[in-house]
Symmetry: C2
């Protein structure tokens, strides 16, 4: 049992929670909570730590699994949450290749540019899985997907949603277009409402930064501008909400193979 | 100019940021940032405070407006944000009456039960205004709408969206039903997808707690269970996202007066 905050493993966990650089170097990330442990692919789990009291309650779960027990006080210290459940795992990072995004005909993608809020990022992943998105491309300046707050907000979708950080999202859009994916941007210049376009063939949405929207450079690459109509004095929606409304319109059309 | 943290007004601001009880007693709330100041109804503003440097940059805005200047260091201390813009106002609370919810034929309402996350709450208000919601009812155990984090996430919708805390949401639902509002709940028992119902007549959605969903007691009161279909292994969506998808389906149907 680990009983000291100066234990090297505990120090490493705290670093992994705080520093993207350490996560990259070690090629791992942290997940917390029983659900995130249970949903993790077994072969991806490097090591699991449980608090002493969690162990006492739940040890049946871990028969013939190698886990490390940590004194409650030390676990609390290492945890990123205020009221930790008492279980955290170190999990190997994902390295998707471009080919993995092309498994399906008429694919459905998101391209995220400079999304900064961890909650938004995680929520977009979660909703994307629910809406049937095939993959997510991220600009280099997006928040680190392995940030513990992002991971928590994905509610497990991190394990299942293919994603790729791209050096240049405008080049990526060209690639998508070459493969006959139609690229849409929610934009002030949009004339048609988002539900007046057809998303049955290959579709990608460009989603921009929370405060500033898309860069003009990226927005210009879109094949089509759309708008989400807003009543009242609302000028924009939360980025995750806007993305979700668009994604579920695609899902709605594709579910019934419905024309609009 | 206020130059001391022991200034009574600064102490009051800090209390107003932290304590719902103090906000209720004084019948006011705090708003931060230029946009929130500009959108606030003038007659609702009790007092506005600006940092010294904000004043130097922006004083033209405040000709013949009574404002209090606060030394930068003290303002930073009183602000709820890490990088304050340098302007905050004390604004009078809203007291909507039930009658104000019935201005329109075929109204569109939300009923929120035990929503706890300030960001979700504010985002729901913001999206609701955009989607044309006529009013929001809240159970007593929802997060305080005047919590600074909620206010910030509303992006100004707090000034425009009628809302009412209700002692008993199940009784409220009966009231809505008596007025011919059809009450929908997203629920595991839902058979039809949310986009297979018609929302052109009076419509209300019940939105439940982030972790636990709706209480069985409230869910049972619904006229109709619906579901948001989810691909992959997603079991639920973020509460604000789920609410937004439902709201924008109503908006979509009503925009075109389209049958589904």
């Amino acid at each position: 049992m680990i009983t000291s905050t100066s234990n090297q493993q505990i120090k490493k966990i705290i670093q992994l929670a705080k520093k993207g650089k350490v996560r990259r170097e070690e090629d791992v990330f942290l997940v917390e909570g029983l659900r995130m442990y249970q949903e993790a692919p077994q072969e991806k789990i490097v090591k699991t730590y449980v608090s002493e009291s969690f162990w006492k309650r739940e040890q049946k779960r871990f028969q013939d699994k190698e886990i490390e027990i940590v004194e409650d006080r030390i676990f609390q210290n290492a945890s990123d949450t205020i009221t930790p459940q008492g279980i955290l795992s170190i999990v190997r990072q994902y390295h998707y290749q471009m080919e993995e995004f092309w498994k399906k005909e008429n694919p459905f993608f998101l391209v995220l540019e400079n999304i900064q809020d961890p909650g938004n990022m995680g929520t977009i992943f979660r909703t994307a899985e629910g809406a049937g998105v095939d993959g997510i491309f991220l600009s280099k300046d997006c928040v680190d997907i392995y940030n513990p707050k992002v991971i928590r907000s994905t509610m497990g979708s991190i394990y299942r949603m293919p994603f790729l950080y791209t050096d240049c999202v405008t080049d990526l859009v060209t690639q998508l277009q070459n493969k006959k994916v139609r690229v849409f941007a929610a934009h002030l210049k949009g004339e048609k409402n988002y539900d007046q376009e057809n998303y049955l063939s290959g579709t990608a949405f460009l989603i921009g930064n929370e405060g500033n929207g898309l860069t003009e450079e990226l927005a210009q690459k879109a094949d089509c501008y759309i708008k989400i109509p807003m009543a009242g004095k609302v000028e924009s929606l939360n980025a995750a909400v806007a993305a979700s409304i668009l994604m579920y319109e695609v899902s709605r059309q594709r579910r019934g193979r419905r024309e609009i």
